[in-house]
C-alpha cells in the first residue's frame, strides 16, 4: 500500500517530528521509494519460521538487581540551560 499524505502526517505525529508542507511532498516520495524497496519481503514464504533472536539470555549471566548510587547531578545538569535548582524545566504540562 502506498503511503498517502494523511499517513505521512500520522507517522510524523507519532515520531514527534514537525514537518512543514514544503518538506512533506519530498518525504512522502522518499518513504514510498523505501516502502517499494522493502516490499520484496512479501515474495518470501515465512510459514513456520520463528522471528530472529540471538538465543536465550541465561539468568546466571545477568547482573544482580542491586541498588547503585549515582550522585553527580551537577554533571548531568551542566548539559542544559533549562533548569531550576536540581530540576529540568519544560513548558507547563498541567493546567
Amino acid at each position: 500500500m502506498e503511503i498517502d499524505t494523511e499517513t505521512v502526517v500520522k507517522i510524523a505525529r507519532l515520531s514527534r517530528i514537525k514537518i512543514n508542507e514544503g518538506e512533506s511532498v519530498d518525504i512522502q516520495k522518499d518513504l514510498n521509494r523505501i516502502v517499494e524497496f522493502v516490499r520484496k519481503l512479501g515474495e518470501i514464504d515465512i510459514d513456520g519460521i520463528d522471528e530472529f533472536n540471538f538465543g536465550k539470555t541465561k539468568i546466571e549471566d545477568m547482573r544482580k538487581d542491586s541498588v547503585t548510587i549515582y550522585d553527580n547531578t551537577d554533571d548531568i545538569l551542566k548539559n542544559t540551560k533549562n533548569k531550576n535548582q536540581d530540576f529540568f524545566t519544560v513548558p507547563k504540562i498541567v493546567e
Binding site: 503511503i3 499517513t7 505521512v8 500520522k10 507517522i11 510524523a12 507519532l14 515520531s15 514527534r16 517530528i17 514537525k18 514537518i19 518525504i27 522518499d30 518513504l31 521509494r33 523505501i34 516502502v35 524497496f37 522493502v38 516490499r39 520484496k40 519481503l41 512479501g42 518470501i44 515465512i46 519460521i49 520463528d50 522471528e51 530472529f52 540471538f54 539470555t57 549471566d61 545477568m62 547482573r63 553527580n72 554533571d75 548531568i76 551542566k78 548539559n79 542544559t80 533549562n82 529540568f88 519544560v90 513548558p91 507547563k92 504540562i93
Partner: protein, 497 residues
C-alpha cells in the same frame, strides 16, 4: 626518525619502537598532533583533545619499561564521535546533541585508556551512523585522502566511520575506533585502503556507544594492517555487566593467532555475491585473493546463501525500526538542542520543533520509516515478516558454515565514489552500497575488510572475509596470510597539507 616516517607506522611498529625507547610517547603524539593540525581539508577530526593526549603521553613515558606497562601504552588513537567520552564533546555528528558533554565514558574507550592508549580526539561520521558516504554529518563530509589518478574530485571516505578510515589512511592516528551496523567499518576501510573489522555481535560492549540499531551495532577497529587490528580488538573486547548482550566468554589473544599456515582452510565463495557484477573491478580483486588463497593450500568451495537478495530489504525495515525507538530519547528536555518556543507552545511543540530542527534529513527519514513499519496495521507485514526473514538469512549462514571455515566476498561493489554523486534523488541508491556487508550484521557474524590493491582508477578496494561466530582469530589469521602476499601499501599522495 622524522615525523612523516613516524606517523606511517601502525600500532605494532610504534609499540616496538616505544618499547626499545627509540622514540617517546610524547614525540609520537606530537608528530600526530602536527599531522592533524595540517589536515583540516580532510575534515576528519571534529574535536581535538591534544592537552589530554600530551598528559597521557607524558604519563606513558614514565610507565614504559616498568611492570605497570599495558598493551597500548603510548599509542595515539582516534575515536569515532559515536563513543561517549567523559567530559569530551560527543554529538554523533548531529545537531540534536549540540554541545553534549557526557558525564560518563563508554566501556570500549575506557578499556582502551585502561590499556594506556592516548586519545587524540573525536572523528567525524555520518549523523547517528546513518549513511554510507559521510555526507549526513552536521560537520560536513570527510574527504577521502585518496584521489582517482589524474583527478581532483573529492571522494567519499565511506560511511559511517569515514572520519576513522580517512584518519588512519592519512596518518592522523595509529588506529581508530569505528562502529558497524550495516557495513560502517568495512565499507570505509575498503574505500581508504585500511583494515576494518566488525566483530561478532556481543564481542564488544555497546555501553556508552550512542545507539542506532541495538541488535546490529558493534564496535571494532580500523587500522593500517591486520596485526594492528588484532592488537586493538583485544583491548576493546570482553564481557561487560553494563551490556547484557555482551558475551561472557574469554577474550583470545588475537595477535598470537597470526602467522599460522592456512593449508586445508575451506574458503566459501557464495554464488549470490561474486557473480552478479560480471567482469567488475570488485570481482577482479576477489579473483586475486582467491588465487593467493589457493596457492597457500586453501580449498575453494562454491556455496549458496539463497536469501541474500532479501538482506537489504530486511535491514532497511529492522534497522530503522530500532532507530526510531532508540532515537525517541532525544526530546530537548535534558541535553542537546532545544527549539525556541512561542509563548503558548506546549510540551508537544517542544518535542516536535526540537526534533525537526535537530535531526538531519536522512535521520528523519529513517525515524519515520521505522515508526511506520512498527505502527498498528503494518507491524506484521513489515517488522514481524523482516524478523522472520532475518532468521532465514542466519540459517543460510549456519548451513554454509557446516561446509566451509570462512566466506570470501567483495566488500563493496566499487571503489570510493565522488561526494554528491549518489542518493541525491533516491535514498535507496545509497543503501545499495551495503549490499555485501549487511548480511553479516543480520546474522551477527564477524567480518573483516582487507585492502587488496588499487583498481583501474588508482583507488584502493577491499575484499571481505566473513567468519562463523567468535572466529575472529581465524578471520584475522587468514587476512594476515593474504596481507603478507598482497603487500599493499597505503600511501595516498599528500595533497591536503
Amino acid at each position: 626518525m622524522n615525523e612523516v616516517e613516524l606517523t606511517q607506522l601502525g600500532i605494532k611498529d610504534s609499540r616496538d619502537l616505544l618499547n626499545k625507547k627509540e622514540i617517546s610517547a610524547t614525540e609520537l603524539t606530537n608528530a600526530y598532533i602536527q599531522n592533524i593540525e595540517e589536515s583540516s581539508k580532510l575534515n576528519a577530526f571534529i574535536e581535538k583533545t591534544f592537552d589530554k593526549a600530551l598528559m597521557q603521553a607524558s604519563k606513558a613515558d614514565k610507565i614504559i619499561g616498568t611492570d605497570s606497562q599495558k598493551s597500548l601504552c603510548g599509542i595515539p588513537l582516534g575515536i569515532k564521535d559515536l563513543f561517549c567520552c567523559k567530559n569530551v564533546k560527543t554529538q554523533a555528528a548531529s545537531d540534536i546533541l549540540e554541545n553534549f558533554i557526557p558525564p560518563y565514558e563508554s566501556t570500549v574507550t575506557q578499556k582502551l585508556w585502561n590499556e594506556q592508549a592516548i586519545m587524540l580526539g573525536k572523528l567525524n561520521m555520518d549523523e547517528f551512523a546513518m549513511g554510507s558516504s559521510n555526507e549526513t554529518s552536521t560537520y560536513g563530509p570527510v574527504i577521502n585522502p585518496w584521489k582517482s589518478t589524474g583527478s581532483h574530485d573529492s571522494l567519499t571516505p565511506g560511511g559511517s566511520s569515514g572520519g576513522s578510515s580517512a584518519a588512519v589512511a592519512a596518518n592522523l592516528c595509529t588506529g581508530a575506533t569505528g562502529t558497524d551496523t550495516g557495513g560502517s567499518i568495512r565499507q570505509p576501510a575498503s574505500f581508504t585502503g585500511t583494515v576494518g573489522l566488525k566483530p561478532t555481535y556481543g564481542r564488544c560492549s555497546r555501553w556508552g556507544i550512542i545507539a542506532f540499531a541495538s541488535s546490529f551495532d558493534q564496535a571494532g577497529p580500523i587500522t593500517k594492517n591486520v596485526t594492528d587490528s588484532a592488537i586493538m580488538l583485544k583491548a576493546m573486547s570482553g564481557f561487560d555487566p553494563l551490556d547484557s548482550t555482551s558475551a561472557k566468554i574469554d577474550v583470545p589473544d588475537y595477535e598470537q593467532a597470526l602467522g599460522k599456515d592456512i593449508k586445508g582452510l575451506r574458503v566459501g565463495l557464495a554464488k549470490e555475491y561474486g557473480l552478479q557484477n560480471g567482469d567488475s573491478e570488485a570481482n577482479r580483486k576477489l579473483e586475486e585473493a582467491i588465487k593467493i588463497l589457493k596457492n597457500m593450500g586453501a580449498e575453494i568451495v562454491e556455496v549458496s546463501l539463497p536469501h541474500t537478495e532479501f538482506a537489504l530489504p530486511t535491514y532497511y525495515v529492522l534497522a530503522p525500526a530500532e532507530a526510531s525507538s532508540n532515537l525517541a530519547r532525544y526530546d530537548g528536555v535534558r541535553y542537546g538542542h532545544r527549539a525556541k518556543l512561542d509563548t503558548n507552545d506546549s510540551i508537544l511543540e517542544l518535542y516536535e520543533k526540537t526534533r525537526s530542527e535537530g535531526f538531519g534529513t536522512e535521520v528523519k527519514r529513517r525515524i519515520l520509516i521505522g515508526t511506520y513499519v512498527l505502527s498498528s496495521g503494518y507491524y506484521d507485514a513489515y517488522y514481524k515478516r523482516a524478523q522472520k526473514v532475518r532468521s532465514l538469512i542466519k540459517n543460510d549462514f549456519d548451513e554454509v558454515f557446516k561446509k566451509v571455515d570462512i566466506i570470501l566476498t567483495p566488500t563493496t561493489p566499487s571503489s570510493a565514489f565522488p561526494l554528491g554523486s549518489k542518493g541525491t534523488q533516491d535514498p535507496v541508491e545509497m543503501y545499495m552500497n551495503d549490499i555485501f556487508t549487511v548480511p553479516a550484521n543480520l546474522a551477527g557474524l564477524p567480518a573483516l575488510s582487507l585492502p587488496v590493491g588499487l583498481d583501474e582508477l588508482g583507488l584502493p578496494l577491499g575484499v571481505q572475509l566473513i567468519g562463523n561466530n567468535w572466529q575472529e582469530p581465524l578471520l584475522l589469521n587468514t587476512a594476515f596470510n593474504l596481507e603478507n602476499t598482497l603487500a599493499f601499501e597505503n600511501n595516498p599522495k599528500k595533497w591536503w597539507a
